[in-house]
């Protein structure tokens, strides 16, 4: 089959010494960033993009480095969930439910390595899913014209808030703000400057890397400054790690759970608006209904650790499908990965598979390699990663801030960009306080120009007829999905979010 020969080519590209070292570095950094509370996968990748960019790495090596960070951060999120009952990132929230009780029972080591194995299974199966599903999606995507693409972008924004979104008005506001920022600069089609107010620095637009690093990384620093009292000291882990390797029997008993939840998580990842958080939530809930006969879930059941971890890592892999095949990411972290691709001058989408197959298959091979490395790294080195948790944020946050400055200054060497970044940092802080999601802003700045170009192309082709946007069955379908995807959370969002929160509170009420 040509898929396997392409994959073999991918391995040839990925298996050079430089790339292997980069994957190793990425896995290590990613796991650390995932483990540290306050530095999730989005932040981690965001800080490293400008660096990979300024170091002059080629397209494939940078992608390998940054996707390893992405996968590593998904692995690392569970460490603080299990040891401290603080999720390192949002998708790891469900892992707290059974992971922390297991750690309290003196089985922290087992919980950590079991969740490592579950993460591996989830990510491994999802990568296979990506290999088989993405080319199929590409075939559909090749039928898309500009009008369909415009509808697809709208769909992406409409569903970005996710099923668990509580306030769709704020999601819409954020998306419009992001797209608005993207329109700053010289208009690509007519060459007139827009919204530049005569400032020469703004003529080539606002660099989305500046926006991303400011919004994600700097706003985190401001949040820590604001809540200095109490939160900024190192976490004290009261539990001992204990026995490291889970017994073969334990792994065997969790295998059906891992397989089921990997499938479920993958689907949740591929669908727009679901993402890894929902993947792990649905996985946990399903397993609880299916196998929890003795009511042991929530009291340290190993299957309750395996389920959400396999689910969220599979969802992370699944989220790469729409990002690579359509060029439209469905979640925050994949939006940041899209920024990576755009910064490297690679436009993801159906043409990527035919024109630059080495990038695609090199990336997929890198995912496999990163996955094995993470499994190998996570079990023996778990002690090291748990020690990372002891670095207090008061030391760590200034480092994050300074590395952000270094990365952005490295791109352009201009103080103006640094000032813009600080502006975005303050904006991110205020918006986070007001519960406005930041991901739509990022996605808006990334996709705004492509969205406008497709709109204008579609209408120009049809001689100025705006009805061309809803002229084909395909685009009508996409528009209806967008409308449903936007309205559904208004009805169900509160219920679902409340349920996710309640689960967490229920458990912590018992623990504390």
């Amino acid at each position: 089959m040509d898929i396997f020969s392409s994959l073999a080519d991918g391995f040839v590209i990925a298996l050079t010494l430089e790339n292997l070292l980069l994957a190793l570095l990425g896995c290590f950094l990613g796991t650390m960033m995932g483990a540290l509370p306050g530095l999730g996968p989005s932040n981690g990748v965001a800080i490293l993009i400008p660096l990979a960019f300024t170091l002059g790495l080629g397209a494939t090596p940078s992608l390998i480095l940054l996707t390893s960070v992405y996968y590593g951060a998904m692995y690392g999120g569970r460490i603080s969930s299990i040891l401290l009952n603080i999720p390192g990132d949002e998708p790891a929230m469900m892992t707290c439910l059974d992971g922390y009780p297991m750690a309290k029972n003196g089985r922290a080591g087992e919980a950590l390595s079991l969740s490592g194995i579950a993460s591996f299974v989830g990510a491994f199966l999802a990568t296979w899913g990506l290999i088989f599903l993405a080319p199929q999606l590409v075939k559909i995507a090749l039928l898309f014209g500009p009008a369909e693409y415009f509808a697809l972008f709208t769909l992406a924004f409409a569903t970005l808030g996710g099923v668990a979104s509580t306030n769709q008005a704020k999601t819409a506001f954020a998306a419009a703000l992001g797209i608005g920022l993207a329109t700053v600069g010289v208009d690509t089609q007519t060459g007139v400057p827009r919204f530049t107010f005569g400032e020469v620095h703004l003529y080539d637009g606002i660099d989305f890397l500046v926006a991303i690093v400011g919004l994600f990384a700097l706003s985190e620093v401001f949040l820590f400054l604001e809540r200095r009292h109490g939160g900024a000291d190192g976490a004290k882990s009261g539990v001992s790690v204990g026995r490291l390797m889970p017994s073969f029997k334990l792994i065997k008993s969790c295998t059906p759970t891992m397989l089921r939840t990997s499938g479920l998580g993958f689907i949740a990842g591929v669908l727009p608006g679901a993402g890894a958080s929902l993947g792990s939530f649905v996985s946990y809930t399903m397993e609880k209904k299916l196998v929890d006969k003795d009511k042991t879930f929530g009291t340290g059941d190993p299957r309750g650790v395996a389920a959400p971890e396999a689910g969220n890592n599979a969802a992370a892999g699944g989220a790469l499908v729409p990002m690579l095949a359509l060029g439209v990411p469905g979640s925050g972290t994949t939006a940041v990965l899209l920024a990576v691709l755009l910064a490297l001058n690679i436009t993801p989408g159906p043409l990527l598979f035919t024109q630059q197959p080495d990038v695609v298959w090199g990336l997929i091979a890198a995912l496999f390699i990163a996955n094995f490395m993470l499994l190998a790294m996570n079990i023996p080195m778990i002690g090291l990663f748990t020690r990372v948790l002891l670095i207090p944020p008061r030391i760590l946050m200034p480092i994050v801030a300074m590395v952000s400055f270094v990365g952005i200054y490295g791109i352009s060497g201009s103080s103006f960009d640094l000032l813009v970044m600080i502006g975005f940092g303050v904006m991110g802080w205020v918006l986070r306080k007001l519960d406005v999601p930041l991901v739509p802003i990022i996605l808006g700045t990334l996709l705004g120009n492509a969205m406008e170009n497709n709109l204008r192309r579609a209408i120009t082709i049809d001689n100025g007829n705006w009805w061309t946007l809803i002229d084909s069955p395909l685009s009508i379908g996409l528009w209806s999905l967008a409308v449903i995807g936007f309205i559904l959370p208004i009805i169900f969002g509160r219920v679902l979010k409340a349920r996710m929160r309640m689960k967490k509170d229920e458990e912590s009420a018992i623990i504390d």
Partner: protein
Amino acid sequence: MSDRIFGLVGLILAFGYAWAALVIEESFLSDAVGPKAFPLIIAGVLALSSIVIIIKPDAAPEWPPFNRFVEVGAAVLVMILYSIFLPELGFVIATALAATYLTWRLGTRPISSVVSGCLTSFGIYAIFHLVLGLSLARGPLGF
């Protein structure tokens, strides 16, 4: 209340954006849509969502007390000064100063902050400049 103010700011932003879109000077060579239409649509979405936020505000977030605001404001000021003086002072000195300040304000004792700030600066300089060869701002002293 916070949301109402936020919505109002959003509305003003939407009108400002729409006005700025209307005064774009169109070139004589334009496509069927022109450079104004898309920004106007976006301004519409911005205005609509702001109105909804004003009508149906969420519960107000927990705003920090005044002194914490000053804290964040001071950090912003330090970062702005850092950005401006980075090319003048050079990377190592500027970064050591800024990192020391941030570490101190996040609750480290002054002497440890100076140590930690200097180590942060040297560490980043060593890794990114000496090992990875990234060009950082060069001050009067050459580093």
